[in-house]
């Protein structure tokens, strides 16, 4: 019986440690007060990447566009293969809350074998009104590929923020 009680105490301490800002529990008297503060929250989840897939450059400079819906437009002189996707972000928060979407207008990509490329970025919406199941926005872009662009793996990073007012 003592052992059982101790185990419960350990479990209880673990739960208390997990709880945020848990007020000290007063269990000694017959009346107990339970308090909880619910804070409004926002979550941001990246569920897909902006994918231009694989491009074989041509003799003239050209562009590849990926729409915010993920559809590809392969410019003249280029060969495009693979599956393209737009970046998708899920936002969860208070039902009805308006969240502003912001981010870099362009990104520079550096190649593993030298060379750079730039991509403009387009955002599906400037703001979203969250529904009961949250909301989402997408990022597409237009990649400028040079004439006989140096082959290799190109990487770049860009900033995206969900902003509360």
């Amino acid at each position: 019986m003592r052992k059982f009680g101790m185990k419960r105490a350990v479990v209880g301490a673990a739960i208390a440690a997990l709880a945020l800002n848990a007020p000290a529990a007063h269990a000694a008297s017959a009346t107990a007060t339970a308090t909880a503060k619910i804070l409004r929250q926002i979550t941001l989840t990246n569920t897909s990447a902006l994918q231009y897939a694989t491009i074989i450059s041509g003799a003239t400079a050209s562009t590849v566009q990926v729409s915010t819906a993920g559809a590809r437009t392969c410019g003249a002189g280029l060969t495009c293969t693979g599956t393209t996707t737009a970046a998708n972000f899920d936002v969860q928060g208070t039902d009805g809350a308006v969240v502003l979407v912001g981010g870099d207008p362009s990104v520079t990509l550096n190649g593993s074998l030298g060379g750079t490329m730039t991509s403009s970025l387009t955002y599906s919406v400037p703001n979203i009104t969250l529904g009961a199941t949250g909301g989402n926005f997408q990022v597409g872009g237009t990649l400028s590929v040079g004439a006989n662009q140096t082959a290799g793996d190109y990487t770049g990073t860009f900033n995206v923020t969900a902003n509360y007012q």
Binding site: I42, T54, A87, V98, L143, G156, T157, Q165
Partner: protein
């Protein structure tokens, strides 16, 4: 007791595992609350939680953003801030500024404010940015389908985060807002319900918008958390709506702009409008 030690053993295995696994595409996050208003007498706490499936390192910083007449927020480089914006950055103290969290591990960020003697009355604001630090060397997965020679493969890594405003009010401040014309317009992303908000006074206004049809109790549209910051006297609010709602919004409506439910939900302005 034995079970307790077993549990501890599992925990340490988990911790080792989490250190050994490099974070990839990590950085999903939760932030609460979504707005902080301080009057200088005491600070507050903001919770950051790693809701991704991998450990992630987050950086917390302050930035200055200015509202535009179109209702967007422009990021302002530190070199271009006004003295009042500089003061806002200097008044807000917070800790920690960088934290590594295993999945589902919350962290409390303590936010304090120090108002220097003689600070002119007014509203001072900065935006607290929470975002994951990208991996040092983002690995590009080898693509076996990539043709050798002139093939180009692309990896674009988003560094994504959340910003919430941290507002400091010094002195006795007041503000009012008036609802302007309302109309339904088309954007490249579909129809939007638009209206103007005009602000007077020496602080921001913040609240919820409810659009109702006279005689119908169920609101047509609810949009929460709409602000007009002091740097703008007026802004446009443009809310994307589904086409069927856009059609229903046309005609006579009542628009109510009310204060946050947390502080009573009092009416800031209410207006009858015919939506074109």
């Amino acid at each position: 007791m034995l079970r307790f030690f077993k549990g501890f053993g599992l925990l340490s295995v988990f911790l080792l595992g989490s250190v050994a696994t490099p974070a990839q595409a990590a950085g999903d996050l939760l932030v609460a609350p979504t707005r902080v208003v301080l009057d200088g007498s005491r600070g507050t706490e903001v919770v950051l939680n790693n809701i991704g499936s991998e450990p992630a390192t987050y950086r917390i910083s302050l930035e200055i953003k200015r509202m535009t007449a179109a209702g967007g927020l422009d990021e302002i480089a530190e070199a271009d801030v006004t003295p009042a914006e500089r003061l806002a950055l200097d008044m807000i103290a917070f800790s920690p500024r960088r934290v590594t969290l295993p999945p589902n591990q919350p962290q409390v960020i303590r936010v304090g404010v120090r108002i220097p003697e003689g600070t002119p009355p007014g509203e001072y604001r900065a935006h607290m940015l929470f975002r994951a630090v990208p991996d040092a060397a983002p690995a590009v997965a080898a693509d076996p389908a990539k043709p050798a020679g002139n093939g180009v493969s692309i990896a674009l890594i988003p560094i994504y985060g959340i910003t919430i405003p941290v507002i400091i009010r010094v002195g006795n401040l007041g503000a009012e807002a008036t609802i302007g014309e309302a109309w339904v317009g088309d954007t490249p992303d579909g129809p939007a319900f638009n209206f103007g908000l005009t602000r007077t006074g020496n602080r921001s206004v913040y609240g919820d918008i409810e659009v109702t049809r006279p005689g119908v109790s169920e609101p047509l549209l609810v949009a929460r958390g709409i602000a007009v910051y002091p740097e703008v006297g007026a802004r446009e609010v443009s809310l994307r709506v589904p086409p069927e709602l856009a059609a229903r919004l046309k005609g006579p409506v009542r628009i109510r702009y009310s204060e946050d439910r947390d502080i009573g939900g009092g009416t800031i302005d209410e207006a009858e409008r015919v939506v074109k």
